[in-house]
């Protein structure tokens, strides 16, 4: 297999969904069945992505493939030098795995939606938007430069906006779409500034050439502080897109969109783009930047987990759990557990998509009932959904034999090792605590939804298992949540092919003195500052030591969480309401989502409103005053100018008119319409010409 072939394949995969989008959006109104085309396109893309993944992992497992072309050549620019902006694709293992994941989930979501969205008035447009989203997401995954990534980043934002607000007739949906868009934009501003800083420094957008120059010791403004700042600014984009604290508020609201959309965008792929961005730029993040990223990750893991405990909307719980899991990944990246972070990104994509689709199945069959306190007992009616939901919940809780156990355990071990090396013990503490909370709220969800007695008898009687198109994705995704796809040993993920071969330890390009201690090259190893260096042996050792304690601890906390959930909701040994009354302030804090929306309303929104009001007043009084004053001046001037116009200019014009009339009177005589008159004139003309050119 040729590498150019793989790249071409990647280009085809990138543009197929765009074709699907264009065809579907333009023929959506006239051709009823055009959604079939979109689905076929997705199937083709998925097959191609599978071939791509196979080819990449079998033939090019150790090489990154590039393909680029010059987009804009600005030539010599003052202050910056030669500037040529290139676009292109990069295909490394991470991108190949990611594109496959995106395509798979997009495909199952498409198939799921065929049934779920049946009867919607904008059925075809829905599929068109899905196609647009898939195209943009593939762009983010496959690009080799940060500018192109930013372009697709915004495209993803757009398609997310369209999909969240798909039922825009509902006020809450259109509001949620706007909120998601605007909150994302806040993060993107930081990312944009970061990109500009990178461009000013390196005159390029390509990741690899930035890294090469960085390894050569070129820093933004020649200071390590600015390198840290640049990294953090780019991370701002990830905060927005991955719904990290403090910009996580848009994700729960985004659940107003159709549930398959939530599965595709707000669980598996788009929010993962932020993590993917950090994975991409990992090589240029300094130790300080990583630490701050880890703090943000830990906060985003903790806060939404506590919120998810008390939510009653099935999708809201899943949304907060998504934020929490993304926080996990970001924290893992922050503490240097790069491979596990990406691993968790993939496994999480599968089981979270499964959870969302499962909830979609429940909601669909319960006639759009989303409140879990009004469900119950659905296990008997929907055994397949229940099984898929259970497997995915076990995976997200980190129970052995699931994929989630492998990745989550790795992250926890990473934080543990990090803490043992640097002394930041809060990270593993948060990690384990959140793991327990996760297990608790997931099983609370399961028990309330599927176990116990049905709340609404009538709805319960009407509920039934989903049809094939909706059941099949659940089965596929839940099977992918089991360990044996990733490693032969259900306890040690390190032995599996995913971690040992596919995802490589990242190369670090930052100056040695800015890194974490354990990322510095070994003392005894040959020191070569210009080349990339993997982690030191001390880290490997710490990871090894952390493996078993972390595993047992995570087992214990997961078991504890599940046990608590059963105690509370299945066996009713403890009354959750009483507990809630006892800790009223804490309960309210959690139930009201830590008052984030209220705080933002009170500060940013109200602040913006006040600023606008002030500006409005300023406009009305000061600017208008100036404008009115100038208007008066202008009016006076116009009066004078009008007079001047009337008398002098008009007089002149009239005079010219009279003159032309007079001349016309004379010359009109010449226009007789008789050829002979004209011949006379020709003769006169000839005479004049002869006179002018006479040579005697």
């Amino acid at each position: 297999m040729q590498d150019s072939l793989l790249i071409k394949l990647a280009v085809v995969i990138l543009f197929l969904p765009l074709i699907g989008f264009i065809v579907t959006v333009f023929f959506g109104k006239s051709v009823k069945k055009v959604y079939v085309f979109e689905n076929l396109v997705l199937i083709a893309s998925f097959i191609l992505a599978s071939i791509l993944l196979y080819g990449k992992l079998n033939y090019y497992i150790d090489t990154d493939l590039f393909s680029e072309f010059e987009w804009i050549n600005l030539g010599e620019v003052p202050l910056l030098g030669l500037i040529s902006i290139k676009l292109g694709l990069m295909l490394d293992n991470v991108a190949a795995i990611m594109i496959w994941t995106v395509m798979l989930i997009s495909l199952v979501v498409h198939i799921f939606s065929i049934d779920y969205m049946k009867g919607d008035i904008r059925y075809n447009h829905y599929f068109a938007y899905l196609g647009l989203f898939t195209f943009s997401m593939s762009g983010i995954v496959l690009t080799h430069n940060i500018l192109m990534m930013y372009i697709f980043w915004e495209l993803v934002g757009l398609s997310s906006y369209l999909l969240i607000g798909f039922w825009f007739e509902k006020k809450s949906a259109s509001d949620a779409a706007k909120k998601a868009f605007i909150v994302n934009r806040i993060g993107d501003i930081g990312m944009f500034i970061g990109i500009l800083l990178l461009f000013i420094t390196y005159q390029t957008f390509s990741f690899d050439s930035i890294f090469i120059q960085l390894a050569d010791g070129k820093l933004p403004f020649n200071s390590e502080f600015w390198l840290t700042a640049t990294g953090l600014l780019i991370f701002c984009g990830a905060i927005g897109k991955s719904a990290q604290f403090p910009l996580h508020v848009w994700l729960p609201d985004a659940m107003e969109g159709p549930t398959p959309v939530s599965a595709l965008i707000h669980a598996a792929t788009m929010v993962a783009a932020g993590v993917y961005l950090v994975v991409r730029v990992f090589g240029m993040l300094t130790g300080d930047a990583l630490l701050i990223i880890a703090v943000f990750g830990a906060l985003s893991a903790l806060i939404p987990a506590t919120i998810a405990l008390t939510q009653n909307d099935i999708k809201k719980v899943l949304a907060y759990s998504t934020v929490s899991q993304l926080g996990y990944m970001i924290m893992a990246l922050g503490v240097g557990a790069y491979t596990f972070a990406f691993f968790h990104l993939i496994t999480h994509a599968f089981f979270k998509a499964c959870l969302f689709l499962g909830s979609g199945s429940v909601i669909h069959n319960m006639h759009h009932e989303q409140d879990i306190t009004r469900m119950g007992g659905l296990r008997k009616k929907m055994p397949l959904t229940y099984a898929a939901f259970l497997i995915s919940s076990l995976a997200i809780s980190g129970v052995p034999l699931t994929s989630g156990f492998l990745s989550k355990d790795g992250i926890l071990a990473g934080t543990y090792a990090f803490a043992s090396l640097t002394g930041h013990w809060l990270f593993p503490l948060v990690g384990f605590f959140v793991a327990m909370l996760t297990a608790f709220y997931m099983f609370r969800l399961i028990i309330l939804t599927f176990h116990g007695e049905p709340y609404d008898k009538e709805k319960y009687e009407h509920a039934h298992e989903s049809k094939f198109a909706m059941a099949m994705p659940l089965v596929v995704l839940s099977i992918l949540s089991i360990f044996f796809w990733y490693t032969p040993n259900p306890i040690d993920p390190g032995e599996g092919w995913v971690l040992s071969k596919w995802i490589k330890t990242p190369e670090i390009f930052t100056p040695v003195e800015t890194r974490y201690d354990f990322m510095k090259p070994d003392e005894n190893a040959a020191v070569d500052h210009s080349s990339a260096v993997v982690y030191s042996s001390s880290y490997t050792e710490a990871m090894h030591n952390a493996h078993y304690p972390a595993m047992f601890l995570s087992l214990i906390v997961a078991g504890l969480g599940i046990l608590l959930a059963f105690l509370f909701y299945q066996w009713k040994r403890i009354d959750p309401d009483k507990l809630a009354n006892k800790f009223k302030p804490l309960y309210n804090l959690s139930y009201n989502k830590w008052y984030f929306d209220e705080i933002y309303d009170a500060t940013f929104v109200a602040g913006t409103l006040m600023l606008s009001k002030f500006l409005g007043w300023f406009d009305l009084k000061v600017i208008d005053g100036i404008v009115d004053g100038s208007a008066a001046v202008t009016k006076g001037f116009s009066k004078f100018s009008g007079m001047f116009d009337n008398i002098v200019v008009d007089g002149l014009v009239n005079f010219i008119a009279i003159l032309s009339g007079f001349v016309g009177l004379i010359f009109r005589k010449m226009q007789t319409g008789k050829v002979q008159t004209y011949i006379v004139m020709v003769i006169f003309g000839l005479v004049i010409l002869l006179f002018l050119f006479k040579s005697f």
């Binding site: 319409g673 008789k674 002979q676 011949i679 003769i683």
Partner: protein, 103 residues
Amino acid sequence: MIQVGLNHFLVLSAVLFSLGIFGIVTRKNAVMVLMGIELILNAANINFIAFAKYGNFGYQGQLIALFVIVLAAAEAAIALAIVLNIYKTFSTVNVDEIDTLKE
């Protein structure tokens, strides 16, 4: 008086030419206009033949003059046919009164 040479013939031709134009321009009657045209053609012929004699062009000038005469005959035939037609249509052959191609 000077010996009669090329210039004499050319001047005569120029006079004929000018008179021809004068005729074309001033006459109302279409037949008179045609006469003016014949004068102009004759003026041109005089030039041709004069140059044939004095300009060392051999017989070619005379030949051209012959062709011109033939063309003049054709032209006169056509023009008179048109004039007749116009007369039939408008009952007049005054060129200043005819300003349409058909009735």
